[in-house]
Assembly symmetry: C2
Homo-oligomer: 378 residues x 2
């Protein structure tokens, strides 16, 4: 997990090549933002049917274990970034040996292991759910005794959209839960009695400047983000606290680029407090509203940061912005959405609308005085 | 110049292939808009270093005289459009034989010949500068006698950004002017004593619906557009007249897609009137402000129209929007522009900043109550 110090002298110019590890919709939207700023984009992914390939100047299909392919890719790039947190650390290290990698290997390694991530956040003095490492039946029994029920058992690695998780309630057999997540190294987390889920999407520039977008209120369905709304209905103090948390995490990782911190909002005795759930070392689904709803999109902001350019303004462009994910068959409602003058549609160019697959999203920016947007998750 | 009737039944779906003839910055911005709507883009151009190739799922480099390459390209597309008006008509006809071509061949053929274009507009009863066909010294002498001096001699074909034009003033030798434009078939136009240059950028859907963006006030330098500002400082009647002109031209061509009509604004005796200068059967430089400054960009609007989708709303998003072209070495000012929180930068990814070459543009959207944008054409 060797990490190179941030090289603040890295300056990328239009016409230079920005490399992206990973080729999903996040890479696709980063690639579009980079192209709009005159950069050439080279996407590296292991799937020849990658949505980002369709908008990139160059695409390489190779395994993340192919050291030679990674090195050749990196040597042609002025800077490389990644669009998903499960890029194998050795692959990131190979790239970092041949090109500036932003954000760095440390952010990646921390974020892709729930236990390392929780420890990192807790050591900064930032509230998390209570947690214990779980490696086997004995450590699970100890952890359950200390944390109590209900609790959530999560794989340390490769979890997303609610996958790799099992809730253990009164009467549940811990062995069943451990088997359900594959019996792999895990973390047991206490339940947080949250009133709402929020996230802060922020960027940190190479010079340490931090800029956060407005706090996002998120609604999940079946473990998958369904809707993000801004502004979140929280106190100014809570909004400031979220920005402070993002700033401390970004600084501690010497982070360069956009990242997101998912938070639980807890309301107790008339007070609000925030508990960190997890962080994502990349642009984030809850930041998609910024594409039409903020003065700079999270994708452009990420490109600015990793190129060593100044961050753009994060001002929200409407009184209220909502972003609804189009999951699986939702995308079949595209005809109604293109006919809806209040809807701005983004589709990811994915072939098959499998259940649970993120196919696109729709953003609604309401000017002051406009009626609230209807839901249109048809 | 055979033209197929508009097939209103053509319906393109996300995932289908949109073909673009031409690979410049206009094609690049159309391609980005199409990708954001989930379409696959295939760009056909004769230059392997085409800015649009960098954001397209597929690129074909071949001559516009290569009938087989054109046919193969078209057969793989759900719909084809073009991004420059000098696509050879036979090439367009070849494509139209294998795929819906929107806009059609007739709009292309009309717009690429100044004489046909002026006659077409005049026959609609819309004011143009006085004009005469010029084929040789004798017809030039007759035309000059009828129109008077000063007058402008323009090639019928392949003129843009002020190229292929010569002004004939008192004392000028007409033969010199004719030689200066290459002695090719030409048109002599009377001078219009305009107070301002404006343009209307409009879209016509397959079902005949028309939607125009706000009238654009344009300032040219050295024959090249330097700045577009909206709103244009004209009366509501003039704005309505421009929309009416666009509607009549669009309907007469059975046009599908975005087009622009460049107009001279003449002020006489306290009255305003509009005189058509020329039309462009494509997205237009004076419409670039819509990309950040309107509820739908001209690029998305064009994609919607050619796909047979409903047009999007054209509402301006700020009290005032300005778009400054970055011509040639202007682009070297990019560092100042990315550091300017009021500037939204778009670069075209072109390699060499030759004099007169359009390298990018910068858009400024001012909310109500904000101070006017400074000029930053550094």
């Amino acid at each position: 997990m060797a990490d190179l110090p941030t090289d603040v002298s890295v300056r990328v110019s239009p016409g230079d090549v920005l490399g992206i590890l990973g080729g999903g919709q996040l890479g696709r939207m980063i690639a579009v933002a980079a192209a709009r700023l005159g950069l050439k984009v080279h996407v590296f992914n292991d799937d020849p049917h990658s949505p980002a390939f369709d908008v990139a100047a160059r695409a390489t299909t190779a395994s993340f274990a192919d050291t030679e392919a990674l090195a050749e890719f990196a040597r042609g790039c002025a800077v490389v970034t990644y669009e998903f947190e499960n890029v194998p650390v050795p692959a990131a290290e190979t790239v970092a040996a041949h090109a500036p990698l932003r954000p760095g290997v440390r952010a990646l390694a921390t974020a892709q292991d729930r236990l390392l991530e929780k420890r990192f956040v807790a050591e900064l003095g930032i509230a998390t759910a209570p947690f214990r490492a779980v490696d086997d039946a004995a450590s699970l029994a100890r952890a359950l005794a200390e944390i109590g029920r209900p609790a959530v058992l999560k794989t340390r690695r490769f979890g997303y959209d609610g996958k790799g998780q099992a809730v253990i309630r009164d009467g549940d057999d811990p062995a069943t839960a451990f088997a359900a997540i594959g019996g792999t190294p895990a973390i047991l987390e206490g339940f947080v009695p949250f009133a709402a889920e929020v996230s802060v999407v922020a960027a940190r520039a190479a010079d340490g400047t931090i800029a956060a977008f407005d706090l996002c209120a998120n609604r999940h369905e079946g473990g998958i983000l369904a809707r993000t709304s801004v502004p979140a209905a929280v106190s100014p103090a809570t909004e400031a606290s979220a920005r402070d948390i993002a700033g401390r995490i970004g600084a501690a990782l010497d982070y360069v680029g956009v990242f997101a911190v998912e938070l639980f909002l807890v309301r107790e005795g008339g007070e609000e407090r925030l508990v960190v759930n997890e962080m994502a070392p990349r642009v984030h689904n809850s930041g998609h509203w910024t594409d039409f709803g903020a003065a700079t999109s999270q994708f452009e902001q990420h490109v600015r940061a990793v190129c060593g350019w100044p961050l753009g303004p994060t001002r929200r462009l409407g009184a209220r912005v909502t972003m609804d994910n189009l999951i699986g068959a939702d995308v079949e409602g595209w005809r109604a959405l293109v006919a809806d003058p209040g809807a701005r549609l983004t589709l990811y160019g994915k072939g098959e609308a499998r259940p649970g697959r993120k196919m696109g999203h729709v953003t609604r920016v309401e000017a002051a005085g406009e009626p609230p947007a209807g839901t249109s998750e048809t």
